[in-house]
């Protein structure tokens, strides 16, 4: 089996390989020698476990996620479909504004689908939104996702989206945020309100605003 190092994430290394003639990726959470072993093992285990389940659960809620082929909890590895495409982070500045709006609207809808099922993504940055070669939107990286999400947790999710747009897409943040929140409200209707107002409260809560 040919393994190709494909990407280096914060907590994982992604390899690209093949299975039965189809491209797949292996997401491996390596040991981090600089962390206390107890903490490192607990994190790797719970996150691998959670990500595997959540990729499937989110799909049941109507969000496109890569299919999980197998999981090796001993080695903290998940094998899943390879998505041929690019991160929204990389694409955003290359797209015409109308197309960017469409994608963000769809991103907001995807987040809303999860929230409607009381699931939060936990790290909804534009690094974790993929657009494939057929212009389809995928959500990835569910290691920080959580079930039984409260209004507070949904508010944090929205706060993280706003933050990610401010820091990474500062020159397009208004267009992107507006479209994302429009998509969110479009799907949830009046149910969106509690999480949206909590997003503003959370922002004000930090030490120095």
């Amino acid at each position: 089996m040919r393994l190709e190092k494909w990407a280096m994430g914060a907590e994982s290394t992604i390899f690209k390989t093949e299975q039965w003639g189809y491209p797949i990726v292996l997401k491996w959470r390596p040991q981090k020698p600089y962390l206390l072993k107890d903490i490192d093992e607990l994190l790797k285990k719970t996150r691998t476990n959670r990500e595997c389940k959540m990729l499937t659960h989110a799909r049941a809620l109507g969000v496109s996620t890569p299919t999980v082929h197998w999981t090796d909890l001993e080695n903290y590895t998940i094998a899943m479909d390879f998505i041929e495409g690019r991160q929204l982070k990389q694409l955003a500045s290359t797209l015409p504004e109308s197309r960017l709006r469409e994608i963000c609207f769809e991103f907001g809808q995807s987040v809303a689908r999860m929230h409607r099922g009381n699931v939060v993504h936990g790290d909804p940055t534009t690094s974790n939104v993929l657009i494939d070669t057929k212009s389809r939107l995928w959500m990835v990286d569910f290691g920080l996702a959580e079930w039984n999400a409260t209004t507070e947790m949904k508010g944090v999710d929205l706060h993280l989206i706003r933050r990610a747009l401010e820091t990474t897409h500062w020159d397009q943040q208004e267009v992107m945020l507006t479209a994302t929140l429009e998509g969110y409200v479009n799907l949830l209707g009046s149910e969106a309100e509690p999480a949206l107002s909590r997003m503003d409260v959370i922002r004000e809560r930090g030490r120095y605003h």
Binding site: M8, G9, A10, E11, K32, P33, Y34, L35, L36, D38, I39, D40, L42, L43, K89, G122, D123, P124, T125, S127, L144, V156, H159, L160, R163, A164, E166, T167, T168, W170, D171, I202, R205, G206, R207, Y208, H209
Partner: protein, 331 residues
């Protein structure tokens, strides 16, 4: 004309005065920190401390730098963020000196100063900065003409968490160094809430849990060890997320809590995994001090920044990302 800048810092518990040349040479850096016999920092007491000790500290900074008042060509002061009474006491001294000596005044963002002094010391051009202190916990990187906060605490700062826990244990403010000493003797890990949300962290939950564990007669060294490993592990993770997200090749650790050696060790490991260079500011430049204000003042002044006395009101809630960083040409 060569610049000699007097920087005055007084955003919270510390008052500092430092003299720095436009060559980036720190000629002096004198400070004093309010450390109450018991309890934490009261803003009014801290501002009184600054008013009482300030003039002597400034005089000492000039003496140590080997200059007289008329050798100063620029005054920089910490304009925010911070405690209002402290900021006002400090700004008053800065304004008086600028008027008396007839030299220009610049207002410096305290958080930005922590980054810039770290860059001066390390030679870093464009780092991911982990800024940790009693009042701040932020992961910052430069993008689009601003220092942008990629992650921060959603509730209390890491230093604040350590101080409040230490106070429960009867330690004096600041408690970080005492906790570090105890942690070195600890080895058994007690699980504490680990709270990372995207690139943000939350410390209030683990503080509550740690205080509860303390009532269960767990040995203090083990408890301090567990607190450090959990709190620093969370920081390592958000720093790592910021590095992976921004793909920057330098990691800077700055702020008062940067003095903690275990934290430095962990973040050095994070940087190594991503083939990034790593620097921890040296202890004299880690906490709140005037040299960082003076140096950042020079950078701002050189880029054309001026602040008239009439407009030099303080900004207690001045966010890191609210200032255009005119002196940096990166995009």
């Amino acid at each position: 004309m060569p610049l000699t800048c007097l920087g005055i810092e007084g955003t919270a518990h510390s008052f500092g005065a430092g003299v720095v040349s436009d060559q980036g040479k720190v000629l002096s850096n004198v400070w004093d920190m309010l450390s109450p016999q018991e309890g934490g920092i009261h803003p009014r007491e801290a501002s009184r401390h600054h008013s009482d000790k300030g003039p002597d500290i400034i005089a000492k900074a000039l003496t140590e730098a080997g200059i007289g008042p008329h050798d100063i060509t620029l005054i920089a002061f910490s304009r925010g963020p911070g405690l209002g009474p402290c900021l006002r006491a400090t700004a008053t001294m800065a304004r008086s000196l600028a008027l008396k000596l007839e030299v220009p005044l610049v207002g410096v963002n305290h958080c930005v100063a922590h980054i810039e002094i770290g860059c001066l010391e390390s030679g870093f051009k464009d780092p991911v900065t982990v800024y940790v202190s009693g009042g701040n916990t932020q992961v910052i990187a430069f993008a689009g003409n601003r220092f942008r906060t990629f992650g921060e605490t959603l509730d209390i700062a890491i230093g604040n968490m350590l101080d409040v826990f230490g106070r429960t244990m009867g330690m004096r403010f600041p408690a970080g160094p005492a906790i570090e000493q105890e942690a070195m003797k600890g080895h058994r890990y007690y699980s504490l809430p680990y709270s990372v949300k995207g690139m943000d962290v939350s410390y209030s939950g683990m503080l509550t849990a740690a205080r509860r564990l303390q009532t269960e007669h767990i040995p203090l060294p083990d408890l301090c060890f567990s607190i450090q490993e959990t709190a620093f592990g969370m920081l390592a993770e958000v720093a790592e997320r910021a590095i992976a997200h921004t793909k920057k090749g330098e990691v800077l650790l700055t702020g008062g809590v940067a003095r903690n050696r275990r934290l430095g060790e962990i973040l050095a490991g994070v940087a190594a995994r991503h083939n990034a260079r790593f620097h921890t500011v040296t202890p004299p430049l880690a906490g709140d001090q005037g040299a960082m204000i003076a140096w950042t003042g020079i950078l701002q002044y050189t880029a054309g920044d001026r602040l008239s006395v009439a407009e030099s009101y303080v900004l207690p809630k001045w966010r890191t990302d609210e200032q255009d960083i005119t002196w940096r040409n990166l995009s």
